[in-house]
Symmetry: C2
Subunit: 227 residues, 2 copies
Amino acid sequence: MKNTDAEIIASCPLFKGITVEEVVELFDRVPYTTKSYHKESLLMIRGDEYDSLKILLKGEVSAEIQDYSGKTIKIENLKAPEAMATGILFADDNTLPVTLVAQSEIHLISIPKSSIIEIAQKNKHFLLNYLSDSGNKVVFLAEKIRLFKFKSLRQKFTGYILSLSGKQHSDNVTLPYTREKLAELFGVARPSLSRVCSEMSDKGLVELDGKTVTILDKESLEESLDY
Amino acid sequence: MKNTDAEIIASCPLFKGITVEEVVELFDRVPYTTKSYHKESLLMIRGDEYDSLKILLKGEVSAEIQDYSGKTIKIENLKAPEAMATGILFADDNTLPVTLVAQSEIHLISIPKSSIIEIAQKNKHFLLNYLSDSGNKVVFLAEKIRLFKFKSLRQKFTGYILSLSGKQHSDNVTLPYTREKLAELFGVARPSLSRVCSEMSDKGLVELDGKTVTILDKESLEESLDY
């Protein structure tokens, strides 16, 4: 493996805690391939079997679907050094729900499932990182589903911090996500979330300071949920 | 470990492909505890840190939350030999979102995270089963979120089979889930799903045969989505 590739892999969250030398050593013993694509190439098509983990070493990829009228809808963008579809790789239905399109020159490594298993059995950091990655996704998606019962963004945010307050047994709530990730949780753009946060703070309902939210007027917040 | 416990563990999906003897051997070398609870005991409370995997060896547990008025809402029931909260165990935020209440006499095994890691590194079957379990949950929840855009159950079902048809490149769609799991995916009770299936079949839109759905009138199905 080229040292430049190993360095990028070592910076991928799945390899957190693993040195570049250890990455080289791990990949010395398992099969893998690397491949480059031109901008606008189709990397994989919706419905393809996803049986090798792909980690972007360079460039950006978009995940797209076509609706029934043939219109293309962009679901998300993935950037190096992100690993793609870590959950789908081990699911019983491991067909890709999206089409992957190169948004720039792409370089990626493709690691067969069996190699991932070997690496996980050899390296405890990698195993823990992989399990955390999946666990975090499960927790995030389950929370997103719980929040669907709230109609407005303001109710979603209120319901979310009241739920965290219940879990953390405190009116001083620590948000477990960045603002960007929170916006994704609520299914809105980041500026919309910021606006709602400001409004609620202006009304004296909450106080916001980085990742800490202090609940100031619990009664009004609870009443605003009225579901 | 008692042989009766090992037999139940071997029947748990996480230990698929592992013999009772291998289970005994695996648990000979790692720390774990077993515990019994009376009916109506609180096993864990919402907000508790979940750092040991609990597998039900006997009995039934309900996962509950309290809404803001103090009313108890039952989220789901778990039965032996199910493993509880496999995703949360490895998530960065590993606090339990629900309270676990014994619905009968309970016997369970509690396996610390570090023991789970040891077992996963020693036994390839267990590792693959654990990764599949998480992967299946990610795929299921992501699909459930995609289906939220459809309002009625009929639209959900239609959107789902058209999406599967797109992925499987065929008008003969194979459903990856049981009817029970499908109802959970759509967030409805099973009889409601059966009724919608019958109606669509009566109208000649689809033909249903076990896990196979044949799309008969694609145009009408697509038009009915009008979103």
